[in-house]
Symmetry: D2
Subunit: 372 residues, 4 copies
């Protein structure tokens, strides 16, 4: 495949450019019988939708998803589910002035080198707009995982620039009540002030997101290469602007001793969850915990040195509509990608291990440690 | 596929258990005409081989690789190259006492839950012994990448527990002259002392590895999902004990502003390499830089709480031969995984973009920044 | 994958049901730079379109294809090309009376057993209507193959029921000038009369189609399993109603001796083409020739014994609009499937064997033997 | 992938050349818990083994398969099962005289054009010797299908040259008691005489094989492209020398009317099986029936016109050891390929449709019609 499909048994194939007719995708492999309608997918799309606060891009897209196939009488049929979202608020002329320039840190230059030319309007295929369809597709996976397995997938902003958001005020109920997906209600004013200053400055900033799957079952994941953690890393690193992925304690492991890191087990359950719910590439039944680092947006109002398509020296300034922190809207995207991976592995496990009997009882997960 | 194959056009399918007859694999998709013999692969295998210092497992394996097919008159034929390494120094009885126990933080419990039973001898399929075949296969990719594209892949230990190894003494020539793959010759005594104490304590420790591909070409990598960075994350997270992967600046991006992170461009080249050589999932021609975090080994002499296969409370102590720091031997493994991914994308790019003409000149990479 | 994607480097993922909102698909892996517009694809769609003569279904669909992505300024960008065709002339109520019945020889029963329920309107996903998108996608492959390699793909009706159409009057120019794709202009009245009688009778009939790729290059195809002939067989057997596929002489080989079958070679070229252009799974440079057998349509006005969804005995009569001979419109579909396979292998070959030097000259193909 | 792997969830990756060290393969995706030992696979290998009668090649290979991994304490573990068969009776010098020549109708020329050079010894990778590993792998699938689903896979020679073998004397018990896999004991002398004459003549002949899976379940197969029949066509056309594949009535459908072809259904079962057990790409629960046509061997003692590797005119005569009718030993190979496909689809169905409830009862298969 050519890179626009993810998954083995439950797959998403994505299409579309930022300023084209539509973005969309095909979800293949969804089992039949799942109750499904467009409203099921719209909820997460609305969480990701731009233009909802002054802290994200001012492009206004209703992001109304249409289901074109695969659903009959309100249930999935087992046939491919095509999803489409029309582009409405393109302003392609905003991009005329950077048509021949490469924004530093953007995909402009690499697309040009790979393909020889590129759709420069709004970033074309490299635009984060494409992630809307991942959110829609992830919504199908989320619903199935919850209905059939009781698995719940949630995420939050764990850091924005210098501001860490996970502390004793952590509250899941707060996460979806602010435009940052911040779990501490007291930090909202701090975040707003930071973003207001950043916007005035014309600069951008990185962020860290955490996603968690709770209610997990043990046994999902395929050693050696298609490990659950490897596939999660693939899916999360495949989100625009992501430069790092951690499972469980992640890079903190480097300085941990074995006696600190190991999650001891008792008949009453695991005593900790440093592993982030995955051992040997297979889920342990503990919460799956992953963190991702997003780089600062490359489209800046502050001028930068670059070259043009002929190789000449140039200066670039971006005036189009952009997110000064792509991390702000990344939480539903990261949830969706985690959902796609878990759904795929749930089906793969079922295909290859259905009927396998394990006499060892499943022990409970440790209490969720929010800061892993 | 069932998880034991990696790659799309250049693939490795791996087999074997720690205490079985042999480990091995099939490399498929290697172009014909590459001069290849077993000695080409043995060099990296010897770098990874156990029992070479007191700081790694004392299991003694010659790790002699045999090429069973796909090479004729000293050249690859384009047909699958089967590789086999016999297991010689098994001591399966060492594992009798943990046959019914699950080592905390090990794959013991998850394999049992997934498959219903497991080959407990030496960790079975979950043993890091399996990575020898990745090193052998990676050797083929390394050779092709170097011969055909001038791409060179190297790695080093960047941190072991609290000891960071990258500083002004960095020397590539030192890396392969010490059992730690440490780039600073002055730190060897410190590392040795640390490891000696750790071994006496019966504990283990994490580590961080850095791998770099230099001499890169722009244009490798397939957006949207099979991005070069996503596939590297998949490959590196698929190494035993890895819990985190970074490309370029990785998690440091979280606190970076756009003006700091962006790698400005001039006709004379890039001015920095925060991106780690990948933009929009496609190589920029700069050095590809990745870091990985390895957790401390789970096999410890210090007792830990666990359960047995019947779900009863138990205490476990591991007395078999193990690496107290799996990170020590991980450098050639990480290099091999990076090579496998780059090789696959080189061929995919060639398949889909051969003949594409880009009028924009390729600008040079920035000088290698060793600590990214 | 879940069965709705074909190809490895050049892929088509298909969606849609006969009476849903739309049918469509995503073509991934098309190299950048190919001039492409909707009119390029419409030509073959119009050849396949229903309602063009009294001998095919009377459903009237304009079958206007829209390109939703992947084309910019008139050229492919290397990004996925989404295609969509709206359904317009559904008459779902025609199907109310067979909603609970299984037409013998139709997919009704097997879909019900596989998925538990089914979209019964117009055959749902199993309808031959889905093949329109294959024709559109195949049009992209056809254009690329012709422009880049000079490969031309054509087909014709070689038999309809008892009427064989290949004889000394064979004329490629005639093929596209009659609704049967018959190569002998003198046979058109015979075919019309046969079909008129069949329609009055309320019965259906089988047919045989031949597809040929000329201007081939040697070296395409991947032994052992993804042979060019195996992939062609997969693609052609995957067309609705196909029950048999032959390459070259096909089943006639059973009675041939080696001296008869072998295509001798001289510096001036091959002396015959019994092999159908493929040896050892790899193209020889001769014309690729394949035949396919299509069964008679299962939707008949003549009553048949069946069961209903509760397992009770029933009688079924189909009154909806159907092709009495699905073979009549199958020629462009078969051409499209052959084009998809050749395109995929062209790119795979380029990926894995680009730069391979063969000192043996390529010898010419034998003169096309139309009935091979 | 590069063509040496078949299957999606249950895969075989094959390696090896006719005169190399060994042939072998890796079976990935076999569920854990299946009792398995080498003797299970040896039975079919012995059926395929050369040198058992004067009618097949005189190369003498014990074809002893070794299981290198994936089995522990007599049961599959869910990990990849590596299989190896050493080559023992190579006589590479026999091939010295055709080293620079291309046998007409052989893969010699196409391998040379694809790869630039080739392992000419015994046909190298293109040798039918490679099929031994398919038979071994198919043995695992056969055993699983029989144990878990009650599916039984059998085959027989249905035609050799002009001699058709299916008639009123058909007897499954006879099939495995003669070197031809002929179902009619009375025809054995006829076949022997035919083959003796052919051998004296130095010529070769084609054949037709039939394979049948009985005890099938409905619901296996993935429309649209990965149909069960399409995948069977792919697998059978992928056997060396195969030029045609039919499902059920195959090419006879061309002349059938709908009322003849359709398999009517009653609560007591299907009334016929023209479809060969597959409708809409999905199994119906009837016997799966497939036929394949094998061309005559290309290695002949009778001289033929050809070219050499420099493109010069030449005459070729083959004196090595060859099967004058590759169809004779093809029955176990075809059974194995059918088993691999069914096994893969059984697991895929289980992954995506486990838990799907169908209220329609499964009706019985029609009595087996031996000549379809």
């Amino acid at each position: 495949m050519s890179g626009n499909t993810i998954g083995k048994l439950f797959t998403l194939t994505s299409f579309g450019e930022s300023h084209g007719v539509a973005i969309g995708g095909i979800v293949d492999g969804c089992p039949p019988g799942l109750p499904l309608c467009e409203a099921d997918l719209q909820a997460d799309l609305d969480r990701r939708r731009p233009g909802q606060s002054r802290h994200t891009t001012q492009r206004r897209e209703p992001d109304q998803v249409k289901i074109l196939s695969g659903v009959f009488e309100g249930h999935t049929t087992g046939c491919p589910i095509a999803l489409s979202i029309e582009n409405e608020d393109q302003r392609s002329k905003d991009y005329g002035n950077i048509k021949d320039l490469f924004r530093p840190a953007h995909a402009d230059y690499t697309y040009q080198q790979k393909y020889g030319f590129r759709d420069y309007r709004g970033g074309g295929r490299a635009s984060a707009r494409e992630t809307a369809i991942r959110v829609a597709a992830g919504g199908i996976a989320k619903k199935y995982l919850h209905q059939h397995y009781g698995v719940m997938i949630r995420g939050y902003l764990s850091q924005l620039g210098p501001i860490k958001t996970v502390n004793e005020n952590f509250d899941w109920n707060v996460v979806n009540q602010n435009p940052f997906f911040c779990p501490d209600i007291n930090l909202i004013p701090t975040l707003e002030e930071y973003m207001d200053n950043l916007r005035k400055e014309g600069n951008s900033i990185g962020a860290k997101i955490t996603v968690i799957a709770s209610g997990m079952l043990p046994g999902w994941g395929e050693p050696i290469f298609d490990r659950l953690d490897a596939d999660i890393a693939h899916a999360l690193m495949g989100i625009n602007a992501v430069k790092g992925v951690e499972i469980g304690d992640g890079f903190a492991c480097v300085e941990q001793k074995g006696t600190v890191h190991r999650d001891e087990m008792t008949p009453a359950g695991f005593l900790s969850n440093h592993a982030g719910g995955i051992l040997g590439g297979i889920s342990s039944g503990q919460d799956v915990i992953a963190h991702l680092a997003l780089k600062p947006t490359s489209s800046l109002r502050l001028p930068g040195r670059t070259i043009d398509v002929h190789g000449n020296s140039a200066e670039v300034v971006t005036t189009g509509r952009h997110d000064p922190c792509v991390g702000i809207r990344a939480t539903p995207i990261a949830e969706a990608m985690l959902a796609l991976v878990l759904m795929d592995h749930a089906l793969r496990h079922r295909g290859q291990n259905a009927g396998v009997r394990c006499d060892t009882p499943i022990i409970p997960a440790s209490p969720v440690s929010l800061d892993d």
